[in-house]
Symmetry: C2
Subunit: 366 residues, 2 copies
């Protein structure tokens, strides 16, 4: 779907809700609806906002630091600078455009910023409407262009993994490996890692939020690598767990169980099934083997412009999957004082099944 089609859909929704315009502040939503790829260093330091009137062309509002990038990326869209700040510009622009009701993204606007917006709106007799998730809902379903971009992101991520995997030796530290991964991502053309790379060895692989440390990889201890990158805006996310030289019987048993749960869940995924039902398939296999309480997180999550987005594949999510959603499938077993195994692939939900985007099979079926 082209950006102009996406804008048309938002405009149609605004007209249905009888709202004159919406202010898009969330950076992924802003990129989705304009092509403008700047990130916000911080929610308090915006790189710009997109103003979409219901019946006029959208405008990208930003400051002089981003002018060249914005004009280059947004194509035909007009770029307007706010040398004296966004509010000063809006004060003039909104009345000029005849806007008397304005929606804003409640889930990506600071309370303090909303208060300033409200007092400006009061003075101009503009009705402010907090809105939540309108663009995220559109982003849930990926079209084939987006799926192709995510596929390329997954494949590049695997290429990086395979390159580094060959160089891993006992004695290297978690930090060494994480840095090698992130440098290789950048050298191979990724915009950035999609999250801070996790490399966790030995017992530390049982920590769901391990940060790479100066800890050495051992030949007979599990090593978990959870990595992803951003390519052309779209994220990948993959986990592999393996033992550098010699895996114990216990390791093999747990690894095979996690893989079995992953395969079973993958076979269930299709349009129409509930997210909770997919989670349950994997969870039942792990629970039946006696490790239920050691699988302490949801089975998966959506991936797109954001590395964590809806739908969550969790026991709480009764919603049904739809064709075009992209999810991770990442069961895990974490034993304190021993270590953990997590295996993560990504798949596109299709009408009658799913398409696994990963081609890498390193240590999957051992």
């Amino acid at each position: 779907m082209s950006i102009s089609k996406r804008i048309e859909k938002i405009q149609a929704q605004l007209r249905r809700k009888k709202i004159n315009a919406i202010l898009i502040t969330q950076p992924h939503n802003r990129r989705y609806l304009s092509g403008y790829s700047a990130a916000d260093h911080d929610i308090g330091e915006s790189s710009g906002v997109l103003l979409i009137p219901a019946r006029k062309p959208p405008l990208l509002l930003t400051d002089f630091r981003f002018q060249i990038q914005a004009e280059h990326e947004v194509g035909d869209m007009d770029v307007i600078l706010y040398p004296k700040g966004l509010l000063t510009l809006l004060k003039k622009l909104l009345p000029d455009l005849g806007i008397t009701s304005l929606a804003f993204e409640s889930h990506y606007t600071l309370h303090s910023a909303a208060e300033k917006l409200q007092s400006m709106a009061d003075k101009l007799s503009i009705t402010l409407i907090p809105m939540d998730g309108m663009v995220e809902k559109m982003r849930l379903i990926k079209d084939e262009d987006e799926i192709e971009k995510i596929r390329r992101s997954v494949l590049l991520n695997e290429k990086v993994f395979q390159k580094i995997y060959k160089t891993i030796k006992p004695g290297q530290t978690e930090i060494d490996i994480a840095l090698a991964i992130e440098s290789t991502m950048r050298r191979k053309g990724a915009e950035a890692p999609s999250f801070e790379t996790i490399t966790a060895t030995g017992k530390r692989s049982a920590l769901p939020h391990a940060v790479p440390g100066a800890v050495k990889v051992k030949k007979n201890k599990p090593l978990m690598i959870d990595m992803g990158l951003i390519l052309d805006g779209y994220c990948s996310d993959m986990t592999r767990t393996f033992v550098p030289v010699q895996a114990s019987k216990k390791y093999l048993k747990i690894h095979r169980l996690v893989r079995k749960a992953q395969l079973a869940a993958t076979r269930e995924i299709r349009a129409g099934i509930s997210a909770a039902a997919v989670d349950k398939v994997a969870r039942t296999i792990i629970s039946d083997a006696g490790y239920g309480k050691h699988f302490g997180h949801a089975l998966g999550h959506g991936v797109g412009l954001a590395v964590h987005e809806d739908p969550r594949l969790s026991s709480q999510n009764r919603k049904h999957l739809k064709a075009g959603m992209i999810v991770t499938i990442e069961p895990g077993i974490y034993l304190p004082d021993w270590g953990g195994v997590r295996l993560e692939n990504m798949a596109v939900v299709r009408e009658d099944g799913c398409e696994v985007l990963n081609k890498d099979t390193t240590w999957l079926d051992i």
Copy 2:
């Protein structure tokens, strides 16, 4: 100042304002008042909040993923988990603690989150008070312990710079150099870079927000490196500009002018002078030489737990500097189609002058 002293100061302010408690959500403020060092991946994905009652000990509220880290870092402070989310916990905790008025950080709370907090508060007859900058105001003045931490952050950053500086050769790309810097930071014990390292060569050094690209360093073109790291929570920030092999006369002229502006501003800094007056000293030197419109940003900014914080050394900031503030001094001249020179040091404001924290002199006085 110990953490308990900081908490006492906040509690005294709460009592003066007749507020029962404050909820601290901003991650640097949370760390400043508890020692808990987790970052928030995103403002929508909090790693915990600090509840400070006016007359009872503070509590750190978080979820099970961060329990071990939180308990390890906060010392005597109680850690309470919220398995069903923060709001569910607060619903019970606030009445238990007898809290009928609660402040929250308006500048680090999403509008959507504030709305949920408000509807909970309404049900419990609790008055919610948006608060802005209470902790930031305390953080403005650094005590000697903090200054020592920042000094060590600056010196480690210089060590990384000096190591990489020796290896720079024409033909390397901006990305190569940026990656080498960031890996070396991590290997030498930094928590992380304090911002994305800027390496900009040739004409690209005239872009204030250059992102490192696959562009090769040339022997006779300027190379600007702006880098900083986080050590023990505290940030450093330094810029050096130089020419790898052979500098032109024009380069030397501009470089010396920028350095002259930096030295003059440094000589002015002391407690009691206005931020605008310091900016003016540097700006006048650059303007008098005919480059005024090519120095398009403020002279400097505060540094501490955040890499950009108050005070801003800008022509707009009429406030007076105080002893214990830490600022950058970073004049620059940017000529489109030629390149730029920026030189940045950090200094502590003292009663009768300032203490420059940088010891590195690479290419400063050429």
